[in-house]
């Protein structure tokens, strides 16, 4: 007897325009790459949203824990000198 499952979960990334980054759109269920690709096309690009699709098995994605955010991102909070606006340019300086 065949096992009736809902198949595997895949995450879908769509590139909206040639050259731009691939952005997470959502997920699909599929048994293999081919089905995941077809399902992603049918579910997420019905209105010409994409020029390219990436599908990745969801189990291969690791995520940071939002509860750790304070600790995780703290080192970048007090370094305002990483921003160009920190520097004083002489009056009349152009293209810099």
């Amino acid at each position: 007897m065949a096992t009736d499952t809902q198949l595997d979960l895949w995450e879908v990334f769509i590139q909206s325009k040639s050259g731009l980054p691939y952005i997470h759109s959502g997920s699909v269920h599929a048994s293999d790459v081919k089905m995941a690709m077809q399902n992603a096309r049918d579910i997420y690009t019905r209105r010409g949203e994409g020029t390219s699709i990436w599908v990745v098995p969801a189990k291969h994605i690791s995520a940071s824990n939002p509860d750790d955010n304070d600790m995780l991102f703290d080192p970048s909070n007090d370094k305002i000198y990483r921003h160009p606006t920190f520097y004083v340019m002489p009056e009349g300086a152009k293209n810099i």
């Binding site: 040639s18 000198y81 520097y87």
Partner: protein, 314 residues
Amino acid sequence: MHNEHSDTHFQSRIDNGEHIEAKDYMPEGYRKHLIRQMSQHAHSEVIGMQPEGNWITRAPSLRAKQILLAKIQDEGGHGLYLYSAVETLGVSRAELIEQLQTGKAKYSSIFNYPALNWADIGAIGWLVDGAAIVNQVSLQRTSYGPYSRAMVRICKEESFHQRQGYEIMTTMMRGTKDQQAMAQDAMNRWWWPSLMMFGPHDSDSPRSGDAVKWKIKRETNDELRQKFIDKTIPQAELIGLTIPDKNFKLDEKTGHYTLSPINWEEFHRVVSGHGPCNKQRLDHHIKYHQEGAWVREAAEAYKLKTAKKELVTA
């Protein structure tokens, strides 16, 4: 695998202004050109940490030291974006590092000049990063998607680098006679090598043809160099620095500055390994790569250990 039909189709995609992604078909020549150019770019970011690293412990204030640390950290980050982007073309990090260390791959010849004093840190940020920005802004529109996206990210971050350099130069030019002389001396030493960063003239640049046809390069060496010259000379004059070239002048008709000829003999000498610091830069890279081997070994051992644990608990 050479496929004429695919190559024609590829070129029509490029001509349409489309970008190429890692899994798309691309001619071998395109892949090779990208690997060469992008790895050279990555190596330049990493080797470029050395001349500035020399000044972390000698920065004149805590503020200057924090900024310099942040800038050098960015350069390391930029190297990582670029190495990762090259790896999408099917070459490994280990191969890339070997090519650098054996001299098969080059890095920007500007980093073979020494940073002799604090004014050099100003000149590097303002001129060297300034020249790099002109090149990188243009490369944001390069035809290879991962390279283009790395450039967008890098350009956003570089702008602080150039401003911190110009701020140093401005401060010194408002300082004592000695400080002004130091700033001018740094300008004199870094001006010409910065102009050489854009590479040989278009007429002497053998690979430019393909790179332009494939839209890897959107503007030629000479076009980019002129942009840099035109925006940098007014910045120099504004803070009282003199251009170390008796013949430079603004062509009123074209709105562009013209300069004396560049000393290409010096450029070729430095590129081929005979600049002031070529040996020092590579030796340093090799030494720390070797001394860091135990960290990579430890990480591999840890990977094996955790894989075994997962087998047991699974």
